[in-house]
Subunit: 358 residues, 2 copies
């Protein structure tokens, strides 16, 4: 396809600061490997838009994004102005659901040059992928309050898991595991406590495992799984999880590699019926916003995942991805560094240093 159309939505807070550096790297890699890209910037899906219009996105947001191959997304949320659940459910979570981005792929990797908070771990000891269900499960606004305002007040919150949803998540995760040298999958569960949905997830995984006999797999209750992310990260290769458990594991995992300022994510509609979305795991970080010190690496790495996804099968995207990753590795090893990694470099300086090495 020529060119690929990329929607650029920088969002709020440090999303706006890291986006230019992400674009710088993506442009450099695309140029080097001959991938034609056309960028389309949209000035919505942020809290200033909400302040002006009372909603996060225009009514015709879907039409405006028609024909886009990917969405390159910064971060959303400015709680001082708009409550988080309003800004998030009005933008990011809408994209994930309405564009059926049912895979949230989140690589976790320890890099040379990044001090590891886990004692004695070396690059290579932490290197896995969290595959998170991204459209259903625990994230719902279903349920309600009864006897409100009285002593008997009771709240019901519902989770919704579909066979369609679980099967496609597990299929993707098992196939991904199969494609990797270690061919191993771990399932996050809590079937000993959450008595309806989690035993059911276990059964879905057993059925999918039977169809992938070449993939070794195991199940971990989410409590002990978080402990093992700290004590035995070497065990993990591909980790499949529901929406909530994947959310937790994909913040915890990056924390064990030193900072969540590096962690990228790909919100994928693998069938490409809808645009996929690429964004850092970190949020808009109001606390450090405006100082130009945010680490842009998660944004840059998300861009690498985007190029890889776009041109799958062609090779150029994979090469571009690898070149960006190599540049990130070099910069992490040799510097410069932002404050979260103990340095004093600005967001722009990191972005330039990476782009120079692509």
């Amino acid at each position: 396809k020529n060119p690929f159309h990329i929607a650029v939505l920088a969002g709020d807070g440090i999303g706006r600061e890291v986006m230019p550096e992400g674009l710088r790297a993506v442009r450099a890699a695309a140029e080097r490997f001959g991938i034609a890209l056309e960028f389309h910037t949209f000035d919505w899906a942020h809290c200033d838009y909400y302040a002006a219009h009372g909603q996060m996105m225009p009514d015709d947001w879907k039409q405006q994004l028609t024909g886009m191959d990917a969405i390159y997304f910064g971060a959303v949320g400015w709680p001082a102005t708009v409550a988080d659940h309003v800004s998030l459910w009005g933008s990011l979570l809408k994209f994930r659901r309405e564009f059926d981005q049912y895979i949230n792929l989140r690589p976790v990797r320890l890099f040379e040059g990044v001090p590891c908070p886990l004692a004695g771990k070396q690059p290579g000891d932490i290197d896995y992928l969290v595959v998170r269900e991204n459209t259903e499960g625990e994230y719902t606004a279903l349920g309600g309050v009864m006897f409100e305002g009285t002593e008997r007040e009771i709240v019901i919150q519902e989770s919704v898991h579909s066979r369609h949803g679980a099967e496609r998540l597990l299929k993707y995760a098992f196939e991904l595991a199969r494609s990797r040298p270690r061919k191993h999958l771990s399932l996050a569960t809590k079937s000993n406590g959450i008595a309806i949905s989690m035993p059911w997830w276990d059964r879905q995984a057993e059925a999918m495992a039977a169809r992938h006999p070449d993939v070794a797999w195991d199940k971990h209750h989410i409590d002990i799984l978080t402990a093992r992310f700290v004590l035995q990260p070497e065990r993990f290769d591909v980790v499949a999880a529901t929406n909530l458990f994947g959310d937790i594991l994909s913040d915890l995992g990056p924390a064990t590699t030193g900072t969540i300022g590096l962690a990228p994510s790909a919100n994928l509609n693998p069938e490409r019926r809808f645009p996929s979305l690429f964004e850092p795991v970190h949020g808009s970080a109001p606390d450090i916003c405006g100082q130009g010190i945010a680490n842009p690496i998660a944004m840059v790495w998300s861009g690498a995942l985007m190029l890889d996804f776009l041109t799958r099968g062609q090779g150029a995207g994979r090469a571009a991805h690898d070149a960006i990753l190599a540049a990130i590795e070099t910069v992490l090893r040799e510097g410069p560094r932002t404050a979260d990694l103990g340095g004093a470099a600005s967001t722009t300086e990191i972005g330039q240093a990476i782009a120079r090495r692509i």
Copy 2:
């Protein structure tokens, strides 16, 4: 009260191996501080009982436990014979609910002599209490499957939170925070994703905070909270959480202190209408059972929490608790050590070493 009646239920697996060492320490401390205890051993709430009777406990389990002041509990679960959800919902989770043990108190502390998996942390850097709601929330068997066996199959899982339940948990946690030098409380939430129950929990916490203006508090989404347990454990003092989030945090926290083999828990009915239950956080560990290498310290420490709770206000229980803790500290610092801490000592050797120092 004289004597206190203690029900002893060793359960399955390593529960049976660590219980004698727990009793050894509790007896030694009770004797030294003049606390009269009477132990009552019950041979149920384990999977062998299930194999013989088709249920985990006799029909009259409540009557049998009438008059008990506390339940000293090993660990339950033997998945090779009985599915975990059957053994757990038929015993431990029944106690928590039917004896209204609504507080699950789980201290997390880094000890001298225990290698910390977090680089550069010293004893004192990790020292907080997880206060987990223990009777409701995400742990339910409510919900069901629709369109079963078809492609449209859908599963609903319900969580139930009551104002009664949230208020008493938060009240306990805020008062506990107030009683500690740092007077700080952190709430685990996920109000940006779980859209009904979690914003509601936030509001309950805000209301309770208003009644405790001398306690400083903050909220953390569960994803970033797990990251902060790894990156900034010094921030935490008292951490209040729902059933599921408390479950996760009270495995992750101990993992950051080197092993979950040390972590104790107190399942409290603070009003003493029903017996409270004291158990290690670790489970029955079938994988290491039978070798005599399990670390009994979590069981011993749980016994210390039991003595403290039993004699609250009298002083002797607190002294007994502190003496046990001091003995644990000494043994952790000087050895002997079990395999989980890199030693070769047996369960009994550790138990004897602790008892000798009380």
